[in-house]
């Protein structure tokens, strides 16, 4: 048997390798650097790696070759398993930016009085002597940084994957570190571990569906490659029942990752139980990566089978928006409320995804589905990271205070922080002059343009419900009269790390709301997927 050396386009994929390298180096650091120096070394290493990868991504974005009729730019590399094109580098860029925000939040130590938000010794059982000792000795897990870098590596690979196997590998590389990170909270450890276990079990279950889907689609097309699958679909070879079932199962796996109903049940528990910095990082990063992967799979591999999956997405999108918006109304915990609101946002994003049209149906300069979704993901990520960063600041004697009762009257005690949080909420609600509005406008427009008016009407109705629960929090913070029952939360002064994350989120949300032009142009410039 002949072995041929695979050709690997190092010039285009090196940011991916940098992140992977930093993750591996992080493991080495854990083994060889003394405990007291690990925190500094790990944070600096992770931050430098992300910055280097970001710079590389920007450089690569500028040098991608234009293909064919100019609709797409980039190449399919690494023997057909990764596609480095406009959307990929755009998504890489925002994933790296949000990961950088994540590192800053991970590294915050002032809020917990000199230690990080992660458990001192994850192996010590909650409530035991060992845990108390770990706490008094001021232990902390610096393994979280390499874990996070592995997750980032998976997130970057996920939207770039151009065959089903790579897609599955990326899915697992992205998920496994996150399962671990979710269970590492310093406070309320049982809740955190429960969240991790739930996430892991449900995630493993959905991976099973996904893998079975891969097998069935392979059975239909005889190939894992997106291009070959697309070819097989348009030539209508083989058994289309296999294709439809396989497509459905792949969709289950991906819709689980984006948190779409009816596969959203893990979201509130995991968002609530995970350490808040992880929640913020995960909420932004996973959703971006999974939407990238979802769109590539559906647009490229199953693009010719659009009439099969578009109606399914209609139903899923409407269901997701309704479930997210309605259940968010009855929440009394800030993190759970944000979790359900993120489910609703998944629905809005799906509205954009199902608004795909052939280029010939669009008039010159019209907003494309890809452009709308990419922009929405950007705005959503900034608002989510910002909002969760604010949540880490609001604390009482038991750590972070996430129940609504504790937040009552926060606007009077700490107008600045409450005002920032209100601004992020207004953006998520899609009030004009914030980034969220422009994003919402874009996804609704592409959906309406593709004729999906029932989805748009449902989206508008859900937006009204969504406004209600966001504004309810603002009322709670600013306008509720009378003395709150029990202890109230106050704002702890963060270090520059968290402040910087919040400020960047704020600035981006404001600027993208008032002058969205450049980023929209950038998203348009990303063009279509390479096929």
């Amino acid at each position: 048997m002949d072995f041929v050396k695979p050709s690997i386009e190092y010039a285009e994929i090196w940011p991916l390798l940098v992140i992977f390298g930093v993750a591996c180096l992080g493991v080495v650091v854990e083994a060889f650097v003394p405990r007291e120096r690990r925190y500094l070394v790990q944070t600096v290493l992770a931050a430098l790696g992300l910055v280097a990868a970001l710079v590389g991504t920007i450089m690569i974005a500028g040098e991608l070759d234009v293909l064919g009729d100019g609709q797409a730019r980039g190449l399919i590399g690494v023997e057909g398993s990764l596609a480095i094109d406009g959307p990929t580098v755009f998504l890489w860029g925002i994933i790296l930016v949000f990961s950088l925000g994540g590192v800053l939040l991970f590294a915050e130590r002032r809020l917990e009085g000199g230690v990080s938000a992660f458990a001192g010794q994850a192996a010590a059982l909650p409530g035991t002597e060992a845990e108390r000792q770990a706490s008094t000795r001021g232990l902390e897990h610096t393994e979280v940084y390499p874990l996070m870098m592995f997750a980032v590596f998976g997130m970057m690979m996920f939207p770039a994957a151009n065959d089903l196997l790579t897609l599955f590998v990326a899915l697992e590389v992205l998920s496994l570190p996150l399962y671990l990170l979710c269970g590492l909270a310093r406070r309320r450890r049982l809740l955190s571990q429960e969240a991790a276990l739930k996430y892991f079990l449900l995630g493993a279950f959905s991976s099973g569906f996904f893998l079975y889907g891969v097998a069935l689609v392979y059975g239909f097309a005889g190939s894992m490659d997106y291009a070959d699958i697309s070819e097989a679909v348009s030539n209508d070879v083989g058994n289309s029942t296999l294709l439809l079932i396989g497509l459905g199962m792949l969709a289950v796996g991906l819709l689980f990752k984006v948190g779409a109903a009816p596969f959203h049940n893990w979201t509130p528990d995991v968002y609530q139980g995970a350490p808040t910095p992880v929640t913020g990082f995960m909420a932004a990063g996973t959703k971006i990566a999974a939407f990238g992967a979802l769109m590539r799979l559906f647009y490229v591999a199953f693009g010719s089978e659009r009439w099969s999956w578009q109606p399914m997405l209609w139903v899923i999108a409407i269901l997701t928006m309704v479930v997210g918006a309605v259940l968010a109304v009855v929440q009394t915990d800030m993190k759970r409320m944000l979790a359900y609101s993120s489910v609703a946002h998944t629905g809005f994003l799906l509205t954009g995804v199902l608004g795909v049209q052939q280029a010939s149906q669009l008039s010159d300069g019209e907003v494309t589905s890809m452009q709308a979704v990419l922009f929405y993901l950007t705005t959503y990520g900034f608002a989510m990271i910002g909002a969760f960063a604010v949540v880490t600041l609001v604390r009482d004697s038991g750590g972070e205070a996430t129940s609504f009762a504790r937040w009552q009257g926060l606007g009077k005690r700490s107008p600045l922080v409450a005002g920032l949080f209100a601004f992020f909420l207004l953006s998520m609600a899609g009030i004009p002059l914030t980034a969220g509005f422009v994003g919402k406008w874009a996804v609704f427009t592409v959906a309406l343009s593709a004729g999906a008016w029932p989805v748009v009407i449902a989206a508008i109705l859900c937006s009204i419900v969504a406004v209600f629960f966001y504004v309810r929090v603002i009322v709670l913070m600013f306008f509720v009269e009378g003395e709150p029952e029990g202890e109230v939360a106050s704002v702890t002064r963060p270090s520059i790390l968290t402040s910087a994350t919040i400020l960047v989120g704020l600035a981006a949300t404001l600027v993208l709301g008032i002058l969205p032009g450049p980023v929209l142009t950038l998203a348009a410039h990303a063009g279509e997927f390479v096929r």
């Binding site: 508008i460 009204i464 406004v467 504004v471 306008f479 032009g517």
Partner: protein, 512 residues
């Protein structure tokens, strides 16, 4: 100086003021924020007058235009311009804000004083952009943005129960706003299908859209404006809001912000969807008539002065809408005039009622009596404002009411008949209110009731002067309004196969 961006300066001045005031120290008793805010509002008034001075009343089109690309991907422009309609509402806004500031000088004391004045200035800035926007997307953005200052003004500075009133206000308005969003998105799709996505009014007016699209989009716009104006049956936020908000806030809401509803009907419903507007006329006219009569009856039944005044506006907005959808030059000019006069008259009513409530500590009519014995000036001014509201000849509202009446009878005799009852009912609610509160024996505890002080007089006297002046000499207002109406009706008529609308010409009156 023709290229000077007057309209940008017009909204930038209050916005800068708002930011500045918000960061002033909020030491209790400090008058600095109030003075700075008043200064900025007067400066805005000066800019507004400068804009008016350059306005050519002979031209029915847009003037002082500024157009820059804003979001290229969406075909959105930062485009401003004024016609007669926009100019009158801009002048109303810039004139009312200083009045409100003087009248509400001590309203926010004990709360966050700079915040009150800063939000009010922000509201003014956004309202000014709304009236000057000639790009639908820009209009939509600021249309929604006005809600944020309004929400904080109601929620932060009103009476007991204001948080709920503010939430109800916001939910209604955002609900209407999101329906409008759907229609605005629809406009983009229509415009993109036509080949070149653009939100400029001038581009959109030239698009040939299908009847179905036009009607759906019209419905979307109309629902949003009916919530804003408000029109029956989407009015229920109005009474709660005016009851709980401070009188100054109510003036800004009812006299300025709600005008966006009727302004939008003229500018967008008629301007963009002329055929659909005519198609929907029977329904809209019916709703307007219900608003006129139902609003008046509700007002008669109120025991809270502020609720009562709020509900009179429901009746008045019914008149304005009726005038707009009667499709005649009298109706159009009458309703534009009505918007201005209603703004002035209702502002006077709200502010004087606010003075009274401040003195008495209650807003219940049943607990107030015989005020004129102790405070004759207050009672007298209240009577003038009330008489203006009921359309007494010689006061400004009469002129606009008669024009709308002519248009109503012109449209159909029974429409006119129903509308006339609104005037009769107006006499009842105003005079009965006056009789119960101002006349009769003084109630115990009124011994210390003081008449209006100088500051309070300074705030309302300009409004009184305007009421009388425009009652006898409405020509300046009509000169500004008429060309706009003529242009608009021409636009509506041109796309109409069968010109049922008399061409905008006063001579036509004789034919009926």
């Amino acid at each position: 100086m023709n290229d000077f961006p007057w309209l940008t300066v017009l909204w930038a001045v209050p916005l800068v003021g708002a930011v500045l005031v918000a960061f002033l120290p909020k030491a209790p008793g400090s008058v600095l924020p109030k003075q700075v805010a008043l200064g900025f509002s007067l400066l805005t008034l000066a800019v507004g007058i400068a804009v008016a001075a350059q306005f050519d009343t002979g031209d029915g089109g847009m003037q002082l235009q500024e157009t820059h690309t804003w979001i290229e991907a969406f075909g959105v422009h930062y485009a401003l311009g004024v016609d007669g309609l926009g100019l009158l509402l801009i002048l109303l806004t810039v004139a009312l804000v200083p009045v409100v500031f003087v009248a509400s000088w001590n309203e926010a004391d004990g709360r966050n004083v700079p915040a009150f004045f800063a939000w009010a200035l922000a509201l003014e800035a956004f309202a000014l952009i709304v009236f000057a926007a000639t790009d639908v997307f820009l209009f939509y953005v600021v249309f929604e943005a006005t809600l944020i200052p309004a929400y904080f003004l109601i929620g932060g500075f009103g009476r007991e129960g204001r948080a709920f009133a503010a939430l109800k206000f916001l939910m209604y308005q955002l609900g209407g706003g999101l329906v409008l969003l759907a229609a605005v998105i629809g406009l983009y799709v229509v415009s993109a299908d036509a080949g070149n996505p653009s939100y400029l009014l001038s581009d959109l007016q030239n698009i040939d859209m299908s009847t179905t699209w036009e009607r759906w989009l019209f419905i979307g716009f109309m629902i949003a404006f009916a919530v804003k104006a408000p029109l029956f049956p989407l009015h229920t936020w109005l009474a709660d809001t005016t009851e709980k908000a401070t009188p100054g806030t109510s003036v800004l809401l009812v006299c300025v912000l709600d005008k966006i509803g009727t302004f939008g009907m003229l500018r967008f419903c008629l301007g963009l969807f002329p055929e659909a507007s005519q198609w929907a006329t029977p329904v809209v006219v019916t709703l307007a008539l219900i608003s006129i009569v139902y609003g008046a009856f509700l007002a008669i039944g109120q025991d809270d002065i502020l609720r009562l005044i709020g509900l009179t506006s429901l009746s008045h907005f019914g008149f304005i809408t009726l005038g707009i959808f009667a499709f005649s030059s009298q109706g159009g000019s009458g309703s534009i005039l009505y918007m201005v006069n209603h703004g002035v008259g209702t502002a006077a009513l709200f502010l004087i009622a606010g003075y009274l409530i401040k003195r008495k500590g209650t807003s219940l009519i049943s607990e107030i009596s015989g005020v004129q014995n102790r405070a004759p000036v207050l009672a007298g001014l209240f009577l003038i404002a009330g008489l203006a509201t009921l359309g007494l000849p010689g006061l400004s509202q009469f002129v606009s009411e008669i024009l709308v009446m002519i248009a109503a009878f012109d449209y159909h005799w029974w429409v006119g008949v129903v509308a006339v009852t609104g005037i009769v009912l107006a006499a009842i609610y105003v005079l009965w209110l006056y009789q119960r509160t101002m006349t009769g024996p003084s109630v115990p505890g009124d011994e210390g009731l003081k008449d209006l002080n100088r500051r309070e007089l300074v705030a309302v006297v300009p409004l009184m002067v305007a009421l009388v002046f425009f009652g006898f000499f409405p020509m300046p207002l009509l000169d500004a309004a008429n060309p706009t109406v003529d242009t608009l009706l021409e636009h509506v008529g041109v796309s109409d196969d069968e010109p049922t609308v008399p061409a905008a010409d006063h001579a036509e009156e004789g034919a009926h």
